[in-house]
């Protein structure tokens, strides 16, 4: 335990008190022991509003140590409000090293993306989850959904997918796409695009999910089977993009659409900013890349 001094306000290391961290760690251990199962925990009030990642922050605060290196992303980006403020929060209350490079990080807290660079053993990915219950919109009763999980009654999940096909001709769910974890629990992978679902399967990294408002923690241990639900005649598919990233020309990555003007001009750029910048530094150049922003500093290889 490190107590910071020298400022008017002093915090316990990583903001939460030790009893709270102990309670959350116990919930995390239980969650790891039962992959995909939602463990209730006594979520604390955090100095940010619900919906800003209070669950993820509590999980991160409970597992972070002085030797850790933290990366925080929001929709793949390191430089958006949510990412910047959470990163600053942990710099202040835990005084840990921070980074934007996926491979240097030991803990990555994420809102709705999994980094493009494959994660490795020893890394922990912490998700911020708004609604942990995958069956919620079909079955409003919590008592009933718990029973359905307990008895493995997951027919209802397919009703949702059936509705998609009946209405749109294909499975139109593009984010928060339900998965079956370790052949037992159906889980909501938080609102990540379904593009990222295959990355969860047999991932060498530990994946932790925290929902602060709903007071649930769940987990996927490393090397766990994660299968996206589908129909035999409508198999699971990830999104594909017609053009590469306009900045770094990357293909096979998740792209964000950016509107450029009011005449229909648009560009598609990497949602993962770290990945995009790294490729730019390597000299990859897309359609709309700045002429010599990076090229001048580091010549193309």
């Amino acid at each position: 335990m490190t107590v910071m001094t020298g400022d008017i306000a002093t915090y316990n290391f990583a903001y939460l008190d030790e009893q709270t961290k102990r309670m959350i760690r116990r919930a995390i251990l239980k969650a790891i022991a039962i992959p995909g199962y939602q463990v209730p925990f006594a979520s604390r009030e955090m100095p940010m509003p619900y919906g800003w990642g209070t669950g993820g922050v509590q999980v991160t605060a409970s597992i972070i140590g002085p030797d850790d290196t933290l990366k925080v992303i929001d929709q793949g980006a390191d430089d958006t409000t949510n990412a910047v403020s959470i990163r600053a929060f942990f710099q202040k209350v835990a005084n840990v090293a921070v980074t934007t490079h996926t491979r240097d990080a030991t803990i990555i807290q994420t809102r709705h993306r999994i980094p493009e660079e494959p994660l490795t053993e020893g890394q922990v990915l912490v998700y911020q989850v708004p609604i942990p219950e995958p069956l919620r919109f079909l079955e409003p009763r919590e008592t009933e959904t718990r029973k359905m999980h307990a008895l493995e009654e997951y027919g209802l999940m397919h009703v949702k997918l059936y509705e998609d096909i009946a209405r749109h001709g294909h499975i139109a769910t593009t984010y928060a796409y339900p998965v079956l974890v370790a052949d037992r629990y159906v889980m909501d992978p938080s609102p990540t695009p379904k593009f990222d679902n295959p990355k969860m399967d047999m991932s060498p990294a530990l994946q932790l999910f925290g929902a602060g408002r709903e007071k649930r923690i769940y987990a996927i241990p490393p090397y766990t089977r994660v299968v996206s639900l589908d129909f035999e005649d409508h198999p699971f598919e990830i999104q594909s993009f017609e053009e590469p990233c306009a900045l770094c020309a990357a293909e096979g990555v998740y792209l964000d659409e950016v509107i450029l003007d009011d005449h229909g001009g648009r560009m598609f750029v990497c949602s993962d900013t770290d990945h995009c910048e790294e490729r730019l530094a390597q000299g990859h150049k897309g359609r709309l890349a700045a002429e010599d922003a990076y090229a001048a500093k580091e010549p193309a290889q």
Binding site: L138, K147, L151, E153, G155, L156, H158, V159, K160, E163
Partner: protein, 263 residues
């Protein structure tokens, strides 16, 4: 008790079923058997314990005492309240059906008619969209709902259509026993007549056993082979439907039969 189906083993046997709500009686010491393919009506006035009885039999409400035995598909009779909850729930969505008085209780109002019918299939592991849809279309046709309504939500359906959809949703897994709680309640008479006609046809075609709770003696007359008359939680009379209605023995049944308005 005499029966049309004396030689077969009963599908469901209720023995000494009693339900107390605190000091009040829901139903007291009810015993009867239901044979495969037989329709039993439970009639009585409001508050006579018929819905309590139905809920106790269908495992929706735990009785205070008594047993309910059900002959499973493997031929063994098992006590419903000694089965695990998982087994009971599996039974409810495969081998049984439950038709509610208010279709909104039995349907998912926010998903399409096709998904409503297909839900049970998906619950027992069907994972082929094309086949689910084909089965759903077939069932909608059987209950006289136009095929082009398959993607409409039940919210857009009339009361009669909702009730027919609820019936299709229950029958899609080929159940052997269907519970119905006032299936024609809240429908106007011409729609009632068509629904009864449909039910009678389906029950005969599929060889279903059914337990129908109703306060409407005409429904009992049209649908059921046997009936049980209840009052104040007790069974006052039981027997073949025609016998009970044409030659009521108990004073209460006589009162009930004579209170039907003759038009």
């Amino acid at each position: 008790m005499s029966s049309l189906f004396e030689d077969a083993a009963p599908l469901l046997s209720v023995d000494g079923l009693t339900k107390f709500y605190g000091p009040r009686i829901g139903c007291r010491d009810v015993s009867f058997d239901v044979y495969p393919g037989e329709v039993v009506a439970i009639v009585g006035e409001s508050g006579s314990g018929k819905t309590t009885l139905l809920n106790c039999i269908s495992t929706r409400l735990e009785p205070s005492s008594g047993t309910v035995g059900y002959r499973m598909r493997d031929g063994k009779t098992r006590d419903l309240y000694r089965m695990s909850e998982a087994e009971r729930r599996l039974l409810m969505r495969t081998d049984w059906g439950f038709v509610h008085q208010n279709p909104a209780d039995g349907l998912r109002m926010t998903v399409s008619a096709g998904a409503n019918v297909g839900e049970r299939l998906m619950a027992v592991g069907e994972r082929h969209y094309g086949r689910i849809r084909e089965t759903a279309t077939g069932w909608l046709e059987r209950v006289e709902i136009a095929e082009d309504r398959i993607d409409d939500q039940p919210r857009a359906f009339s009361g009669g259509m909702r009730q027919r959809l609820q019936i299709a949703r229950n029958l899609v897994t080929g159940p052997r026993l269907v519970f119905m709680d006032e299936p024609t309640g809240g429908l106007d008479v011409s729609v009632q007549a068509r629904l009864l006609d449909l039910l009678r046809g389906l029950v005969a075609d599929l060889g279903l056993a059914a337990i129908v709770v109703t306060h409407d003696l005409a429904v009992a007359r049209l649908l059921s082979h046997r009936m049980i008359v209840m009052k104040g939680g007790d069974v006052v009379e039981a027997g073949l439907t025609d016998r009970v209605l044409d030659d009521p023995q108990a004073p209460y049944t006589q009162l009930l039969v004579s209170s039907i308005l003759q038009v």
